[in-house]
Amino acid sequence: MPVDEILPVRSDHDIVVVRQVVRTWAVDLNFSLVEQTKIVTAASELARNTIDYGGGGTVRLQSLREGARTGLRLTFEDKGPGIPDLALALKDGYTTGNGLGLGLSGAKRLSNEFDIWSRPGEGTRVTITRWK
């Protein structure tokens, strides 16, 4: 199994591929079914955000090993308009699009670690990690 892989996130179809590849990685890392479902769902939310708000980008998958524990880290990156108010964007139900406003906050709840970087005019980078 590779320890690092980058996938495009540009289309509807790419979201499906991201879900499938993240699932394969989670299975290879021996994640439980619930853990697999959580990280795949989080990946689906962030992939859609990357397209809808970032104009498309990439996701990087990394398998992590820290002592006895293993993890899966996903980094979604786009060069879109960025998010002017991060605190607001992380609030449940807040959306500038026509979704439910659960993408970012939901992905955060479904992950063990969450990190977001964004600068207006430069883009957005969201990193989530789930440990087994």
Binding site: D12, K38, S44, L100, L102, G103, G106
Partner: protein
């Protein structure tokens, strides 16, 4: 164009989602179902999601929309077969599918639809007038 088949059984429409749905396919299903409810004069819609490995906010929103639209068109929707891992994830994601009726399997879902039709008061929606 790729489509999810909709089966008619008496006054009910049955849908079994067997593919990893991309967003456009979900939107198409939503449109097709509302059209078929009217065309087939359906009184109930049963959606089997037992093959779905995840339900994210987009698919969740689609399910909620179908339930709301069918209600406006005088039909009941019941979603059956949600996997336990999907249910756990959905709640943690923050989606509780308000207004969507669920059953464990197709048999129980059909029972629920029939019961809600039988319990109707003759002027349409079973909850009308309560």
């Amino acid at each position: 164009m790729e489509r999810i088949p909709i089966l008619k059984m008496n006054e009910f429409l049955l849908v079994s989602i067997q593919v990893d749905m991309h967003d456009r396919l979900a939107m198409t299903l939503q449109d097709d179902l509302t059209e078929r409810i009217v065309r087939d004069r359906a009184r109930g819609v049963l959606i089997d999601i037992s093959s779905l490995e995840i339900v994210d906010s987009f698919i969740g929103r689609m399910i909620g929309n179908i339930a709301a639209m069918s209600r406006v068109l005088d039909a009941e929707t019941v979603v059956v077969g949600m996997r336990p891992a999907v249910a756990i994830t959905l709640v943690e994601l923050g989606l509780s599918l308000p207004g969507v009726r669920t059953s464990l399997n197709v048999d129980k879902g059909m029972e629920l639809l029939r019961a809600s039709l039988a319990g109707g008061n003759g002027n349409g929606h079973p909850d009308a007038g309560r």
